[in-house]
Symmetry: C2
Subunit: 225 residues, 2 copies
DNA sequence: AATTTATAACCTGTCGACAGCCGACATAAT
DNA sequence: ATTATGTCGGCTGTCGACAGGTTATAAATT
């Protein structure tokens, strides 16, 4: 039967589950940016000991979603404009290199997978499905990295991913964002399909810089109110 | 008086000290690649409890110097040729982006700092000081990242740094390596000095690819014996 | 001798406890 | 009233202990 698991999985340790839990709590704004996080408090809330909580927190610090201040207190990551710029510079460095590799190495099958993602994106836009759009956006970028065939590159991008998530959510705000993003993706896709690393790389960098500009504008706009 | 410290420093926690200790042990080959590492064992050896050891190990896993296998056993990182290639692709992506930024943003003072590093390198070569050469090489690359002014970019490169260390040591083996490396660095330096991001980026990528080719050759050579 | 079974040794994930440090609040001194 | 002193509570870093799952070792069976 379909539901059957063909292989038992070892119990997922608390600290891993917790890492996921905390991550979504942060993403969903349950913990506010700048808010202090306390090991013992979370441990008590979930009726587990501090050890797994500690490990989960350490992992999230590595992901950048939590930050330690001078007094080794732990607070939730607070995006700043400077930081957005830095993160996007990193993404451009990593992803434009990745897409160049992908354009060289991608298989026919992967090309059609990519195309499928673009179609999904189109559907999401038509239905006004914002969450779906964010997901498709992430999926497109992620799949390109996978096609590069470099697992370390993928890991580096994934590490940035937790932070990028914030901005992806912001990024779909603004006039005609869905269409603009899709257009950018299509151009990147075409360059990959033509196996033109140089162009793919440039298109991706342009596209990402455009995202960045949009995000900054929205943040500044919000700040004014 | 001069010796007076104007500010007390908080004690460095065990887990941080230990992280450093373990790192150098791995670098120095005290723990062999592929060798298994056991929390309790290290804890006992150093007469501390498992908690700080655990945290140090987790940190090193993040750096890539330790790896968990399927049974969540912990073993020392084992460089492979595929891996070297992947890591160097990542370095090229990150560092060539960084050097482009540096060429745009570098200050006069930083330019002369960089030049000083090149002079040190020259001295190290003349004196046949291999360790000094490795250090200078690392210093040069690192300082370029700093000049880019992007702290996240720096962190990403630093993360790779722990692994890169292995290969830097290998890289100075081979005929005329010191001179070749220095020549590459000088070219990069000149491009930065001219504030030519495009050229700096290209020179760095070429230089790094050359390092990679050399490293691979040496590794393969060793394998044959 | 080869294979199975039964123990024993080991390791990781988790727990509860304690010490030292820091800040908050309260109380005392000028 | 303001500054100084003292106490309390909270939080992090560290400790030792235990449970459950694995692996290795030794005994038993064929």
């Amino acid at each position: 039967m379909e539901l059957e698991q063909n292989q038992l999985q070892k119990a997922v340790p608390y600290y891993e589950q917790l890492q996921q839990t905390l991550k979504t709590r942060i993403w969903n704004g349950l913990y506010k940016p700048g808010e202090r996080i306390i090991e013992a408090q979370i441990a008590k809330e979930l009726s587990i000991s501090r050890s797994p909580v500690r490990e989960a927190i350490r992992a999230l610090i590595n992901e950048g979603l939590l930050v330690t201040d001078e007094k080794s207190q732990i607070i939730v990551y607070e995006p700043s404009i400077l930081d957005v710029k830095e993160i996007y510079e990193c993404r451009i460095a990593l992803e434009s290199a990745a897409v160049a590799l992908s354009a060289e190495r991608i298989t026919e099958e992967q090309v059609s997978d990519l195309e499928k993602i673009l179609q999904e994106t189109e559907t999401a836009i038509k239905q006004g499905d914002k969450e779906g759009l964010v997901a498709c956006n992430a999926k497109f970028h992620q799949y390109i990295i996978i096609c590069s065939g470099n697992s370390r590159l993928k890991k580096l991008v994934d590490d940035l991913q937790s932070l990028t998530h914030f901005f992806r959510v912001i990024n779909i705000e603004g006039p005609n964002r869905g269409e603009t993003i899709l257009k950018g993706h299509k151009e990147i896709f075409e360059a990959i399909k033509k196996r033109d690393p140089e162009q793919a790389s440039r298109k991706l960098a342009d596209h990402t810089r455009e995202d960045l500009a949009n995000i900054i504008q929205i943040i500044e706009q919000k700040g004014e109110r």
